[in-house]
Each structure stands twice: as structure tokens, then as C-alpha cells.
């Protein structure tokens, strides 16, 4: 075991950590203090938060100086197993908070296993992917990773804690870094794009756009981009005329005319024929493209089903508000509207510490937990939000840079996992408060009130710092 060299502790990351925790407490104080000022009572959130911070710091010291780092790879499987067990258990015996059953109640304390299972997943992923013979091209390896990711996600979905489940998708970035094909990410983004396109405009529009996209891509594959684009343009123009056919009385015998059905039939058949032909010619690129096109058609036609049947009412409403399909500032849109008002009213320099009116007087719900960014926006202004953004950015990028210098791929992958978790939380949380994403209730790392979240991120980060301290860098 290498000698511990405490001078090698990454003081920048530690400093940023402390900065966020202290700034977080200030904002929690501001958003939860009453007119009477500071009252030392454990009923007050800002006092409780001090308890959480103190205990988190104790945990940090424990991890940094006491627990030997070699236990982490060793316990990865049991730890992961225990966490999955807890995740499933909480769905049955947990207490229900805001419609999701994701909390264990231990007297006055509440713990959310979903926060901690991230740590276990990160350690296990690092452990699996750091094996010498690990390859994403190896189906067994890829499947194993998929299962390790899918199990906690499904367990968390069982608790109706959609936001936390979404965070796990951040690990896909780590997978990408470690060799997973980037197409998976591109396809994922395209799927979201077409989902939105279908909802906001119409299935027909989505089909036309998909046709255009695939047509141009095919042209590039054939190394005839100009011809491909021109042919695509003609096809798209012809498609665009389809709705006009509905107005021709002679075609009435076809029954009720649905342009998207006809468009899908025409383009889908063409794509299927092409895919078959290319299959025999052994030209996988065009074949895959055409298969992709058919998949896209299926996605477009399932959007309505997913939206109406799979999503919950409140989720559907949040998405509708985000996409501007529905305006409801007093109902479902209330959170986002008030959140935007609070942040927007901060202006350049903000209203000053304890000066916020929107966040202090309960206009913004959940202002010390999921919507803590509103307090920052209102009281510290654009300069404050930009500073917070900069701190997170520095933290994440520094973690990535630090991880990349590691000889031991376990440490590198684990570092990436920590960065990915932070990134997902920060981006989803802030985007939700400023109306870039639907309302997804996950905390802002180290700033939001909440013991589970603070502990989890402390553990996550300080395990890395401990590993970093011991590990030789390039």
C-alpha cells in the first residue's frame, strides 16, 4: 500500500466543495429563516442543515483518513447488491413524500437510498469497466453494464422517483468515454428531438423531417451529398403535398384521409425495400440507416401512446407546459413560473443576502431543496448564478482532467462517474428552474437542503479524493 501523502490532497476540489456547502447553507438560511432571525432550534431547517453539514464533514474526514481505499473495489458487488435491496425495499416500506415512496424514516431522520445507490453503481461500474479484458464490443461485457445500470433505474422507477432515475443516464457518458458507441447517445438525442417534434407539431411533420434527415445522411454515405440532398428535397416537397390530396373529392373513396398514415406507408415501404436490397448487397451503412428510419417511424407513432398512457398526468402536464402546448401559470406551470419570476427578478446583482421577496415568502415551492437555485438567482443576481455555474463547471472539468491523469483505470472511471453524477444533477436541476426542462425533482448537489443528498455527494466526492491522493498520476 502506497504511503499516504496528504499534501497530494486536491485542495481545489476540496475548496470548491466547502465553498458550495457554505454558500448552500447561506441560501437555505435565507429561504427558511423567519422574521425573528436566527433561532437555535432543530425545527429550523438552517439549524438542521448545520447538523447535516457537520456530519458530512465528519464522513469526509473518515473517508479521507481512515477507510482504506482498497476496500472499494473489494466491496463493489456486495455494496451494490445491498443498495438494490434497499431501493426495492423502500418502494414497499418507505414513507411517501410528494407522491414518491423513496424515503426510509429513522425517527426524525429520513434517508433516501436512491442518493446512495449512485455511489454503489459508480464503484461497480468502475470495477467492471476497469478490467483489462473489458470491451464494449464484447456483447457479454456490454450486457453486464446494461444490467448494472438498468436494475437501479427500474427499482427507482418503482418508487416513482423519475428524476433520480434520469441521473443514471449520466453514466452513459462514462460508458461512451470507455468505448461505448457514440451512436447510442446520438440516437437517444434524436429520439428526444422527434418526441418533441411530434408533440409540438404533428406526426406528419416529424415524418417529413425524419425523411429529410435520413435522405441527406444517405447521400453523404453514398458520397454523393449534392445528388442526395436534391433527391431528398424533391421527395420532401412531394410529401408536403400529401395533405392537399385530402381536398380532392375524387379520393374520397379512400376513407378519412390521414396524411401521416399515407406518408408513413409510402416512405416506410420504400425504406423497407431499400433495406432488403442493401442487405443482400452487404452494404450495412445504408441498411442501418433505413432500419433507423423504420425505427424512427415506430417511435413517432408511439409518441402519442407513450405520452397519453405511459406518462403520469403530472408528468404529461409538465412536459406540455415546457413545450408551450399549455399555459397554466397558476396550476402545473406554477412552480416554473414562480421560479422564473424569482430568478428573473434578481437582475444583474440580485436583491442581496436575505433580500429576496419571492423565495423568502414561499412563492417558490421547495425553495430550500429542489428550487434552491431560485434563492441564489433572486438574492445574488446574474453574477451569483454565473458564479455558481462557474464553480460547478470548474469542479466537473477538474474532476475529468484529474481522472484522465490516472494510471489506474478504476480510479479514472470512478472519477468520471463522480463528474457525470454532478453534471446530471446540476444540468437537470438548473434547467428545470429556468424553464429549459420539465420539472424534475432532483437536488442541486451540495447546495440543496437535504441530508441524504449532502451525504451522498460528500461520500462520492471524497472517495475519489482519497483515491486521487493515493494514486500515482501520469
Amino acid at each position: 500500500m502506497p504511503e499516504l501523502n496528504y499534501k497530494k490532497l486536491d485542495w481545489v476540489i476540496t475548496g470548491l466543495y466547502l465553498l458550495l456547502v457554505v454558500f448552500g447553507w447561506m441560501n437555505i438560511f435565507s429561504s427558511s429563516v423567519s422574521e425573528d432571525g436566527f433561532v437555535f432550534s432543530f425545527k429550523e431547517k438552517y439549524v438542521m442543515d448545520l447538523v447535516w453539514i457537520a456530519s458530512a464533514l465528519a464522513i469526509a474526514v473518515l473517508i479521507l483518513f481512515v477507510i482504506p481505499s482498497r476496500v472499494y473495489p473489494a466491496i463493489s458487488w456486495p455494496f451494490y447488491g445491498l443498495m438494490v435491496l434497499l431501493l426495492v425495499a423502500v418502494a414497499f416500506v418507505g414513507v411517501e413524500v410528494n407522491g414518491s415512496k423513496s424515503w426510509f424514516a429513522l425517527g426524525p431522520f429520513r434517508l433516501q437510498p436512491a442518493e446512495f445507490s449512485k455511489i454503489a453503481t459508480a464503484i461497480l461500474l468502475a470495477q467492471l469497466m476497469s478490467k483489462y479484458e473489458f470491451r464494449f464490443t464484447n456483447a457479454r461485457d456490454a450486457l453486464r453494464i446494461a444490467i448494472v445500470l438498468a436494475v437501479p433505474i427500474l427499482a427507482i422507477l418503482l418508487e416513482k422517483e423519475t428524476g433520480s432515475a434520469l441521473v443514471y443516464l449520466g453514466f452513459l457518458l462514462v460508458c461512451y468515454r470507455e468505448g461505448m458507441t457514440g451512436w447510442l447517445l446520438v440516437l437517444g438525442l434524436l429520439a428526444i428531438l422527434f418526441f418533441i417534434l411530434t408533440l409540438v407539431f404533428s406526426p406528419f411533420t416529424a415524418i417529413v423531417v425524419l425523411t429529410a434527415l435520413v435522405g441527406v445522411a444517405a447521400g453523404f454515405y453514398r458520397r454523393r451529398p449534392v445528388t442526395g440532398t436534391l433527391v431528398t428535397a424533391v421527395v420532401v416537397l412531394l410529401l408536403a403535398f400529401l395533405p392537399r390530396l385530402a381536398q380532392i373529392p375524387a379520393l374520397d373513396f379512400l376513407g378519412r384521409f390521414e396524411p401521416e398514415i399515407w406518408a408513413a406507408l409510402l416512405t416506410g415501404t420504400t425504406a423497407a425495400v431499400l433495406a432488403a436490397v442493401e442487405w443482400f448487397r452487404h452494404r450495412p451503412q445504408i441498411r442501418n440507416l433505413m432500419m433507423g428510419f423504420l425505427l424512427g417511424l415506430i417511435l413517432i407513432f408511439s409518441v402519442e401512446f407513450v405520452f397519453e398512457k405511459v406518462l403520469k398526468d403530472h408528468q404529461r402536464a409538465r412536459i406540455e407546459v415546457l413545450l408551450g402546448i399549455r399555459e397554466d401559470p397558476m396550476g402545473v406551470g406554477y412552480n416554473v413560473h414562480q421560479s422564473l419570476v424569482a430568478i428573473g427578478s434578481g437582475g444583474l446583482a440580485g436583491k442581496g443576502f436575505l433580500g429576496g421577496t419571492q423565495t423568502r415568502f414561499d412563492f417558490v415551492p421547495e425553495q430550500s431543496t429542489d428550487f434552491i437555485f431560485c434563492t441564489i438567482g433572486e438574492e445574488w443576481g446574474f453574477l451569483g448564478t454565473l458564479a455558481v455555474l462557474a464553480v460547478y463547471f470548474t469542479l466537473i472539468v477538474r474532476l475529468v482532467a484529474s481522472a484522465e491523469r490516472k494510471k489506474d483505470s478504476f480510479v479514472r472511471i470512478y472519477g468520471w462517474c463522480v463528474a457525470a453524477c454532478l453534471l446530471m444533477h446540476v444540468v437537470i436541476n438548473i434547467s428545470m428552474t429556468i424553464g429549459l426542462m420539465p420539472v424534475i425533482g432532483i437536488p442541486l448537489p451540495l447546495l440543496s437542503y437535504g441530508g441524504s443528498s449532502l451525504w451522498a455527494f460528500t461520500i462520492l466526492l471524497f472517495i475519489y479524493l482519497r483515491l486521487d491522493m493515493e494514486e500515482k498520476s501520469y
Binding site: 422574521e35 457518458l173 461512451y176 468515454r177 470507455e178 468505448g179 457514440g182 397558476m330 414562480q338 422564473l340 419570476v341 424569482a342 430568478i343 428573473g344 427578478s345 434578481g346 437582475g347 444583474l348 421577496t357 419571492q358 415568502f361 414561499d362 412563492f363 438567482g377 433572486e378 443576481g381 446574474f382 448564478t385 454565473l386 455555474l389 460547478y392 463547471f393 466537473i396 472539468v397 475529468v400 484522465e404 453534471l423 444540468v427 438548473i430 434547467s431 429556468i434 424553464g435 429549459l436
Partner: protein
């Protein structure tokens, strides 16, 4: 060794892009878009309005005629209401249970919007009702009372003149953005005319409130609060006692009674009958429908809004014009055999001695005399044509204020009508009319309409021997000076020297004892009054009874017009009413020998003579 090393760059680039998008959005929300700041203020700052006391209205002697009284609005916070004894509640406030149920149905409907707010449940309950409520208020959780000033009227006088105040409605706020819902505004009469003075300035306290509309604290310790500035007391030119007496005289008659102090143009009394009782004024919303639907239109200020033919009173104007034009001297004699007859045209007249001079013509109100006078004005060779002569005549009448608005401070003042040459051109063909075609104008009939205020102003002008101040209702006080336009003397186009002869005739009309005088009924013991009767024919039934008068003859203190619709001869109703008003004003009491006349006037009911659309 690590084939995917380059992917770090791709991921970091993606992170930079995502953080860039977030930063841009923050810039947009926090710096570019100002709307959020406004919404935040609306969210958090609660402006609690402090209502100023509305200015009082005083009469010319300093007596308060419109005062403020404390009443209470019953407020309700639907969130805090628990089931209560609706019947007991309704008994206190004299309400219908259906009203209460309807209100609560509404509250349930808008409960999300209402939240913790309190709303007005019932406006302006009396102190007695409020006290009863307070005793039992523990039975009605969620209800409370807030003090609110309302109008009260120590005199039952001048309802129409004073006007009413009512809460502003949405349409009014749209046109007058300085008002807010819940404000009161003067809607008619003096309340409307002097709204800017009376209303005062609202103040406010700013509080911070939370999302549940609960007040948390004062904003910046009241640094930005504004204290209310009470409205200014406005002194009117009205004599409260005289106004009340005038209303008594006009009771059960349709018409107007206007008195002006000639030396100042100050309106002493302005009665429009039937009028609004002050009881109704103070709770106008309750009586509004009833008043609007009243066939006698009590909301309508006839004194300034109802142009009617002036009748024989107008002979005075024609006489003055004739004198000024030099076509008439006081000694000009004309004969009259029961009227003026030219060819097929005949203007009838009553039986009186003939021939007569100017004084006698006024005294006896001879129609034929003024037909001659009018024709000699219009047919005067120096104007070349009848049309030219007419235009000249019209200029004279306009210098008296006829056919135009006097620009008083009374809302809704009408201009009346003075026919134009063009109108006769249209009627008879261009240039195809003669003085004879429009001969009715000579005796104040035909296409002429003037408001009672015009006639009161004529009386004041004659009393002043040739000039007038624009009649007005606001008294000039140091605290509250009147507009400059009320301080400017207006001279008519008739030289002041000619007025003495007309005054002479008017004196005779009342005081000549040798017989033939038309207005002896208006004779006041101890006072030499001057007057002129009028009997205005109209297409709506009996003639209107008109009388103008001023007194005393020398140094007149009061000029009056009484216009009683469908009252018959001028001497029948208008002359007694106007003379009684003058007597009351000058002597303070009615002489014993005129008590019977006073009683006849009080008892007189002419409402049945007035045709109304029921």
C-alpha cells in the same frame, strides 16, 4: 493503450455547450427580460390603500350640505369561514338568504384565485347593523367589518345638483387609469364637477406578503409609504336654506327654478323637479334602478339640460335689440286688435287696450307689438336682406348667451338651439323666407330652445343692466379659487342705457295697479320686483308656465327664473313660485297676505298634466 482518450475532448465540449446554453438562458431571464421583475413586485408587495376623506361641500354661508359619515363594509375571508347561522346573519344585515348562498357559491368557484384574501361581502352597512354584528361576531368566523366613509346630507336639498358618488366600474377605470377598483368617483352634479378637488389623494402602506397572501412585514419600515391627502372642502354658491325652500315650491311639478346673484353670477338655487331625494343619493346603488326607470326622469338636471321655448319672456330680448338697432323707441306705439294679422297669417293676442307703447307692451305682454318690432329689426333696409337682418339679430341673441353653452361649472350643460339662416333656407328654400315666415321668434316660440339657466342668466343680465358673469356653482374662496372665466364680465351687444326702459316695463308688469299688468301675482310687499311672464306653447300638452324676475329693482340681489312644464299661463304657477323664492331670500319670511299663495303652490300637483312615457 487507451484508444478512447480523444473522447474526453468531445464530452468536455458537450459540457461547455450545455453550460453555455444555461448561462445564456440565465442572461435572458435575469438581464434581458424585465417582465419577471414586475411580476415579482406584484407578487410580493401589497399596497394597502389608505382612503382620504372626501372633501365636504358647503353652502355659501358655510353650512355643510354634504358631509362624510362613517359606515362599515363587511368583509369576508372565505378561507376562514365555518358553517354559521345564515338566518341570524341575514336578520342583522337585512339580507336575503339566497344572496348569501349565491355569494358563497361564487367563493367556492373561485377559491383558488381567492386563497386567503378577504373580499367585500356587503358594502356600507349602518353603524347600528355593525354594532349588532360585532356583538355576535364570534358566531360568524371569517367575517369582519372595516370602516369606510360615505356621504351624508344634513339638508334635504339639491339632490340633483350635488350629484352622487359611486364605485368606479371597469369601463370607467379603462378611461381613467388613475382610479382603481374600489375607488369612489363623483358621477353627477357637483360631485362630478369638483371631483379633482373633492377626491383628495390616496395614500398607501406597502407590506410584504407571502404566497398565501399573508402580510409578513412593512416594506422597508414604511420608508416608501404615502400618507393620504384629504379632499378639499368646496364651498358652493348655493344657499342651502333657499335651495330647500325652492325644492318645496317645485314639489310635484315638473320644471326648474334657478336663482342667480346678478352682481356675481353665483347660483343661489338650482332646482330641477322632480329631483333626487338625498336619502336616495347616499345609497344610490339601491335606488339607481328605481331612479333610472322613473318616468319623470329625476336624474335629469332640467335646469341645464332641458332646452324649451322661452315664450313671451323672450320679448324682452327683442325689445332690447329693437332699441339698440334704433327701430324702436320707448314711445313707439303699435296697435293690437286681438293679434297681429297679415294676409293669411295671424298671431293671436289677448284683449288689452290699444295702441300701446313699449312699457305697456311688456306689462301686458302684447304679441302683436313684438311682431312689429321683430319685423322692423329683420326688414331694416340697412341690412339689404331679411337674411342679413336675421344674422344680425342672431348675433345679438348670442351675446346674451342664447344658443350656446354658457360654460358654467355644471356637468351636462346644454347649448339649447338658436335657428340659423341655413336652417330656414332648408325649410323654405334658399332666400325664399321673409321676416313673416319666422315671426314666431318675436314672441319666443318656434325654432328656439333655451335652458332655464339661459333665462336665469337673462334675468341677471337685465338686473345688471347689460352684463353678466357666467353663472357658476363654486364659490370663490382663498383656499379654492374659481376659474378665471367666472371673473370676467360679459357685455351684451345692447348698450347698457337701453336696459332702463325694459326694466321699467318689467316693474310695471308686477307693480302696475291700473289694470292689465300680467304679473301682479308676483308682487312682494316692501320690495319692488321686476318681472316678465311667459306662456310657452309646446306640442306636448298644456303651455309651459314661465316667469323671470329680479329684485329689488335698484341694486338687485337676486334674479330668478321659474319654468313649470305644462303649468299654463306664466302667472299661474311660475310667477308665484319665482316671487315666493325672491321674497324668502330678500325678506326671510313670506308676508301673511301671501301665505295662502304659498300654500297653493305647496299643494299644487301638476304631475298628471305632464305626458310621460310610462
Amino acid at each position: 493503450m487507451d484508444p478512447f482518450k480523444n473522447r474526453r475532448g468531445i464530452v468536455v465540449t458537450a459540457i461547455v455547450i450545455v453550460f453555455g446554453v444555461i448561462a445564456f438562458r440565465l442572461f435572458q431571464v435575469q438581464i434581458l427580460d424585465k417582465e419577471y421583475r414586475v411580476t415579482a413586485e406584484n407578487n410580493a408587495l401589497k399596497y394597502e390603500t389608505i382612503y382620504p376623506a372626501r372633501g365636504r361641500i358647503l353652502d355659501r354661508n358655510g353650512k355643510v350640505i354634504v358631509d362624510n359619515k362613517l359606515s362599515y363594509d363587511i368583509m369576508v375571508t372565505p378561507y376562514d369561514v365555518q358553517p354559521f347561522d345564515t338566518a341570524a346573519f341575514c336578520r342583522i344585515f337585512d339580507l336575503d338568504t339566497a344572496f348569501v348562498h349565491e355569494k358563497f357559491r361564487e367563493y367556492r368557484l373561485y377559491r383558488r384565485k381567492i386563497g386567503y384574501q378577504s373580499l367585500v361581502f356587503k358594502r356600507q352597512v349602518t353603524s347600528e347593523q355593525y354594532n349588532m354584528f360585532i356583538e355576535k361576531s364570534f358566531l360568524f368566523p371569517g367575517f369582519s367589518g372595516v370602516p369606510r366613509t360615505t356621504r351624508t346630507y344634513p339638508f334635504n336639498a339639491g339632490g340633483n345638483l350635488l350629484g352622487y358618488i359611486s364605485e368606479v366600474d371597469a369601463a370607467f377605470i379603462k378611461d381613467h387609469p388613475e382610479y382603481r377598483s374600489g375607488d369612489y368617483v363623483g358621477k353627477t352634479g357637483m360631485e362630478e364637477a369638483y371631483e379633482p378637488l373633492l377626491r383628495g389623494e390616496k395614500g398607501y402602506s406597502i407590506y410584504l406578503r407571502d404566497a398565501h397572501n399573508r402580510i409578513k412585514q412593512r416594506y422597508r419600515d414604511g420608508e416608501y409609504d404615502k400618507t393620504a391627502v384629504p379632499g378639499v372642502d368646496v364651498t358652493t354658491t348655493i344657499d342651502g336654506a333657499l335651495q330647500a325652500y325652492g325644492e318645496q315650491l317645485m314639489k310635484n311639478k315638473v320644471g326648474s327654478l334657478v336663482a342667480i346673484e346678478p352682481a356675481t353670477g353665483e347660483i343661489l338655487t338650482m332646482v330641477s323637479s322632480p329631483g333626487i331625494d338625498v336619502e336616495q343619493l347616499s345609497d344610490i346603488s339601491k335606488y339607481y334602478r328605481q331612479l333610472v326607470n322613473d318616468p319623470y326622469k329625476p336624474m335629469y338636471n332640467r335646469a341645464v339640460m332641458s332646452p324649451q321655448p322661452p315664450g313671451s319672456v323672450f320679448k324682452l330680448v327683442n325689445g332690447l335689440i329693437g332699441l339698440q338697432e334704433g327701430v324702436l323707441t320707448p314711445n313707439t306705439m303699435y296697435g293690437c286688435q286681438h293679434g297681429y294679422v297679415v294676409g293669411g297669417l295671424r298671431v293671436g293676442c289677448h284683449g288689452h287696450p290699444s295702441p300701446i307703447n313699449l312699457y305697456q307692451s311688456i306689462m301686458m305682454s302684447c304679441n302683436a307689438y313684438y311682431c312689429y318690432v321683430f319685423r322692423s329689426i329683420l326688414d331694416n333696409p340697412k341690412y339689404g336682406s331679411v337674411q342679413e337682418g336675421f344674422e344680425r339679430w342672431k348675433q345679438y341673441t348670442e351675446s346674451f348667451g342664447f344658443g350656446r353653452r354658457l360654460e358654467t361649472d355644471i356637468p351636462g350643460e346644454k347649448a339649447g338651439t338658436m335657428p340659423s339662416a341655413e336652417r330656414y333656407d332648408r325649410l323654405h328654400g334658399k332666400g325664399r323666407w321673409k321676416s313673416l315666415s319666422i315671426i314666431s321668434l318675436s314672441i319666443g316660440q318656434g325654432e328656439i330652445g333655451c335652458t332655464p339657466l339661459h333665462l336665469a342668466n337673462l334675468a341677471a343680465t337685465i338686473a345688471n343692466r347689460g352684463w353678466f358673469y357666467t353663472p357658476h356653482l363654486q364659490k370663490d374662496t382663498p383656499a379654492c379659487p374659481v376659474d378665471e372665466r367666472f371673473k370676467e364680465r360679459h357685455y351684451t351687444m345692447v348698450d347698457t342705457t337701453h336696459f332702463a326702459d325694459i326694466v321699467q316695463g318689467m316693474e310695471l308688469a308686477i307693480n302696475y295697479t291700473g289694470g292689465g299688468a300680467t304679473a301682479t301675482i308676483a308682487r312682494i310687499p316692501g320690495v319692488i320686483a321686476c318681472g316678465k311672464t311667459g306662456t310657452a306653447q309646446n306640442p306636448h300638452g298644456d303651455d309651459h308656465s314661465v316667469f323671470i324676475t329680479f329684485a329689488p329693482k335698484d341694486d338687485p340681489k337676486i334674479a330668478v327664473v321659474a319654468y313649470v312644464e305644462n303649468g299654463g299661463f306664466g302667472a299661474t304657477w311660475a310667477a308665484p313660485i319665482a316671487s315666493l323664492l325672491v321674497e324668502k331670500y330678500l325678506n326671510g319670511t313670506i308676508a301673511p297676505e301671501r301665505k295662502a299663495l304659498e300654500q297653493r303652490v305647496f299643494d299644487g300637483n301638476l304631475l298628471h298634466k305632464v305626458k310621460v312615457r310610462k
